[in-house]
């Protein structure tokens, strides 16, 4: 490239006050290949821009350098001007001689010299710039939402309401998630089912939502706007269209297994409906439980016998459905920390040591006790209940270092509701400190203490053991330093929130990262909290970090909005300054693949290949390549070397 124009801006006196702009222009005019150099009082003004346009046309410039303010301010301005003159915008570069020169120096001769050096460097850069066009790809206007909890439901509804198709995949037989198990929700104490069920129904009725329950994502390929997803649809052995919900089948089914919905506090049959309001409203045969599913069948077939509509079909096979989507929302939710890790509290050992969700089920009117609080062991009303917070959370040595966030609130709710049920009972809460940041949250905790007399004890419980029908809780009150021993009837543990089981595998399929605690990693903790590091994949709900319902719903709507921003476009455009592989230099060592933060590089037939839509042009790959075989367009090692040379007077 041989016809560069250099335009030096005075910026009033902002630049010209410290930098001899005439001299900069004059020196640059001598630079080889610079055929035009001039200065002007405000380059960004219309007359200034016109100077550039005119010079490009008259002098047949093939590249332009504007020495002015920071590129963050006017790079676009000048590139547009360049474009107007018929030159590719990437043939225009900015030399920052204001923020990084005139404004920070006083001595005119030195500042001028520095401005010359900077501009020379940029001249050498721009003349090596390629003319580039934005990268563009078409968009499949359909979203995939993974997880049918409240976050997934909300995201699905938002996207579908905006007019796009949604495929909602849920691994269990019904959507609803953990929210459907809850009794009442803090801080308003409204009934969880009551507010959730309408939304579940809306999902099932929505013309643009395709619900796939009892299904799992098996394989994801492609990239933003153009994902290809394989979904495994597990057989339920019951045709939902035929099932009339008569419930005759469960009556004859001889097999009883623990009921997941009731957190094992009750049993269910091998053929079951997860809960009465389940969506889709249909039965499922649990193939792990039903003996009829094994080869050596002692298949009783009783359910099929009693099913009048003939909805039961033992020949149903797993099915793989392939879908194309443009964006993905991951809302896989949470599970509670594995109880076996908590031996010291007797969880799993003593029936009256419960976790928070089990307690929710006891509180729930649809629960095993019909909403009465009774000890699982003897069905007696507990008179002293100890709630322990931070079980497995905030414990970097033994368990997890993070705060599970919702336990303070739900424990307060549990203690409060307990008191509402058992007026003469006493609730104790062991806590480290109370975190009640949230609208009306602090007031809620105060209500528990003040109105319901919940006894908050600051300290940790060291041990829970059974003695004479009582659960002895040993702890320390760290405020008084006293040892505490409580003989309780029931202990409720606020177990740590963990990402739901199997999420690590799903993350691998999606090629999105996990944080150090195993939750999904967001692209930027502050500025891109609902995006994953992979373009086009968004995060919602507790899969990203523990959150309560309003937060999960809020994030879901955020993720939906992000997804819609993609789906609303016919094509996606992307900056063309992306990495390029020089194939004959590439040996396929894969270093670039490992360092790429965006999964934009893959190895194909022993050579690296860049997905230009995913590449953000950061250049980490290029610095890692021992052969300079991968380079960011318009900022290649060659550009840098020539800039160094020119800047240093070479």
């Amino acid at each position: 490239m041989k016809r560069t124009g250099v335009f030096v801006c005075h910026c009033g006196i902002n630049i010209a006050g410290t930098v001899d702009v005439k001299k900069v222009a004059a020196e640059l005019a001598k630079h080889p290949g610079v055929v035009h150099a001039e200065d002007y009082v405000y380059m960004c003004s219309d007359p200034g821009q016109n100077l550039i346009i005119q010079a490009i046309k008259e002098k047949k410039l093939d590249s332009v350098v504007v020495a002015c303010c920071s590129p963050t301010l006017h790079e676009t301005t000048f590139r547009n001007a360049t474009k107007k003159a018929g030159l590719n915008p990437y043939r225009c570069e900015i030399a920052n001689i204001r923020e990084q020169c005139s404004w920070v120096h006083r001595e005119k001769s030195k500042a001028t010299q520095k401005a010359i050096s900077i501009t020379r460097g940029v001249v050498e850069k721009v003349r090596r710039n390629e003319s580039l066009e934005d990268v563009s790809v078409p968009v499949t206007k359909r979203a995939l939402v993974i997880g049918g909890g409240i976050a997934g439901i909300q995201a699905s509804l938002d996207i579908a309401d905006a007019g796009y198709e949604v495929i909602l995949v849920e691994k269990s037989p019904s959507i609803g998630g953990h929210m459907s198990q809850l009794s009442e929700t803090f801080p308003t104490l409204d009934c969880s089912q009551c507010i959730l069920t309408p939304k579940m129904v809306e999902v099932s009725k929505h013309p643009r939502i395709k619900l796939m329950t009892y299904s799992e994502v098996q394989e994801v390929s492609g990239y933003v706007g153009n994902f290809k997803v394989k979904i495994l649809k597990k057989p339920t052995y019951v045709d939902p269209d035929k099932c009339t919900l008569c419930d005759e089948c469960t009556k004859v089914c001889p097999i009883v297994v623990p009921n997941e919905f009731d957190m094992g506090l009750t049993g269910r049959r091998a053929i079951y409906i997860p809960f009465p309001q389940a969506i889709p409203a249909s039965y499922t045969i649990d193939e792990k439980a039903c003996p009829g599913m094994f080869d050596t069948a002692i298949a009783c077939g009783k359910c099929a016998d009693v099913c009048k509509p003939g909805a039961i079909n033992f020949d149903m096979k797993p099915e793989i459905v392939e879908v194309d989507v443009g964006a993905i929302v991951v809302a896989t939710g949470y599970d509670l920390y594995d109880k076996s890790m908590m031996a010291e509290y007797g969880y799993g050992q003593y029936p009256d040591v419960l976790d928070g969700l089990q307690f929710e089920r006891l509180l729930s009117a649809s629960g095993p006790t019909g909403g009465r609080i009774l000890r699982p062991s003897d069905k007696k009303e507990p008179k002293e209940v100890v709630f322990i917070q931070c079980v497995g959370s905030r414990d970097p040595e033994l368990h997890w270092p993070y705060c599970s966030k919702i336990c303070c609130m739900y424990t307060a709710k549990h203690a409060m509701l307990y008191k509402h049920h058992v007026h003469d009972g006493q609730a104790y809460v062991f806590y480290i400190d109370i975190r009640s940041g949230g609208k009306n949250y602090e007031e809620f905790v105060h209500r528990a203490v003040e109105e319901d007399g919940v006894l908050y004890l600051r300290g940790k419980v060291s041990r829970v053991f059974e003695d004479n029908g009582k659960l002895i809780v040993w702890g320390v009150d760290t405020l008084t330093g006293k040892q505490i021993e409580i003989a309780a009837d029931m202990v409720v543990l606020a177990m740590a929130i963990r990402p739901s089981k199997g999420m690590d595998e799903l993350a691998k399929k999606l090629k999105i990262a996990l944080d150090k605690d195993g939750f999904l990693a967001e692209a930027h903790p502050k500025l891109r909290p609902v995006e994953s590091m992979t373009s086009g994949i968004f995060l919602a709900g507790a899969a990203q970090a523990p959150k309560d319902i309003p937060e999960a719903v809020g994030q879901a709507s955020g993720a939906a909005a992000k997804a819609m921003a993609i789906l609303s476009r016919d094509r996606l455009f992307h900056s063309p300054t992306v990495a390029r592989v020089i194939r004959n230099l590439c040996t396929g060592c894969g270093m670039c693949v490992s360092v790429c933060p965006f999964e934009a590089i893959s190895l194909k037939e022993g050579k690296a290949e860049v997905n230009e839509i995913l590449c953000e042009g950061c250049g980490t790959c290029s610095a890692s390549c021992l052969r300079n075989a991968i380079q960011v367009k318009n900022l290649t090692p060659h550009h840098i070397q020539e800039m160094i040379k020119a800047c240093l007077g070479g």
């Binding site: 020089i582 230099l585 894969g590 021992l626 090692p637």
Partner: protein, 343 residues
């Protein structure tokens, strides 16, 4: 003891069964005691093979030639190439696997244990013999070398004439092989970074004057790079004597090729070349010591690579060549990598 007969037997087996395309081992140069890489193509040629303390060459390097040949040929014979490797050499195979330069079944590996010795340094041997000319140099028993001089047999304690790298070897036993000859005997390497400690302790200017002297005599014959099992790039970014150009390469691409190092052998260019080589070998060099051995003007290149090896270990806990599945040193990081040098 590694049995030469067994080695020959294994090679013969591999060749006559057609399992390997050809086999690279060592043979004597002429009738002397020194050795060179030997390409054995016929089972009946296995008698050329030797295994002596002068087998310092890292034969893994020849896999580059094989790879290039395969790329050139239309219907290449893709059977594995057989190789004799020592502990250090085997680690360079691991690095090539790590960098996907080769696949495991591209190579059939006969590993030999260095047991209590290793390979010799010829300069040390000559000094030790004080002007006498050796006729044969052999492995002795229990960590010694047997040197035949004037039909006399001299026993030399291994550390007296061992190559420096062997004195600092972290694993004198092949870490990857199809067949292993010899026993796995742990030899205590002592201080693995002994050779560089003196230089690390030097004052800055003293160190500079040392390196300045070393680099200023570099001829840029590129023997260091040519012999290196890790220097497999078709075109070296530092200074190319080969351009990876195809018919598709455009004139602009050729014109814009970055020339980091000029062809002149002045100090600045020599330093640039060696700096790039050192940094590019960081986390990849297995300290086979070949670069230093082949240098005709004896620039102590090992000292550079050893320094990088030490820093990789001390700063990042990184060891080279033991695990082909680990990510390359500079393609991974730890959240707590040291950053006390950053302001």
């Amino acid at each position: 003891m590694v049995s030469l007969d067994q080695l020959k037997e294994e090679v013969k087996k591999a060749l006559s069964s057609g399992k390997v395309k050809y086999f690279i081992g060592y043979e004597n140069i002429g009738s002397g005691w020194q050795v060179r890489p030997a390409f054995i193509r016929q089972p009946e040629d296995v008698d050329r093979l030797v295994w002596t303390p002068a087998c310092f060459h890292n034969l893994v390097r020849f896999l580059h030639d094989e790879k290039r040949r395969r790329a050139r040929e239309k219907n290449p014979d893709i059977r594995p190439v057989g190789l004799v490797v020592k502990g250090c050499d085997s680690r360079s195979i691991n690095v090539l696997l790590q960098e996907k330069y080769i696949e495991r079944n591209d190579v059939y590996i006969i590993g030999v244990s260095c047991e209590l010795t290793g390979v010799i340094n010829i300069t040390k041997l000559n000094q030790h013999l004080n002007g006498l000319k050796p006729q044969k140099v052999l492995f002795g028993s229990k960590g010694t070398f047997k040197v035949i001089v004037d039909d006399r047999e001299i026993e030399i304690e291994a550390p007296d004439i061992l190559a420096d790298r062997c004195l600092e070897c972290p694993a004198n036993f092949p870490v990857i092989a199809d067949v292993i000859l010899g026993e796995e005997i742990k030899r205590n390497p002592g201080n693995r970074y002994q050779s560089i400690s003196a230089y690390e302790k030097m004052a800055l200017d003293e160190r500079w004057s040392f390196w300045q002297q070393q680099f200023s005599r570099c001829l840029r014959c590129y023997a260091c790079r040519s012999v290196c099992p890790m220097c497999y790039c078709d075109e070296c970014v530092a200074d190319s004597i080969a351009y990876a150009v195809t018919a598709e390469t455009t004139a602009d691409e050729k014109a814009q090729k970055t020339r980091w190092v000029e062809r002149n052998p002045e100090l600045s260019e020599n330093i640039f070349y060696h700096l790039v080589r050192a940094i590019h070998l960081a986390g990849r060099c297995v300290d086979c010591g070949e670069c230093e051995r082949v240098c005709p003007v004896e620039i102590p290149l090992r000292l550079l690579n050893k320094k990088m090896e030490k820093e990789a270990k001390e700063l990042f806990g990184y060891e080279v060549g033991f695990d082909p599945a680990q990510p390359p040193l500079i393609a991974c990081f730890r959240d707590n990598d040291p950053q006390d040098f950053i302001r």
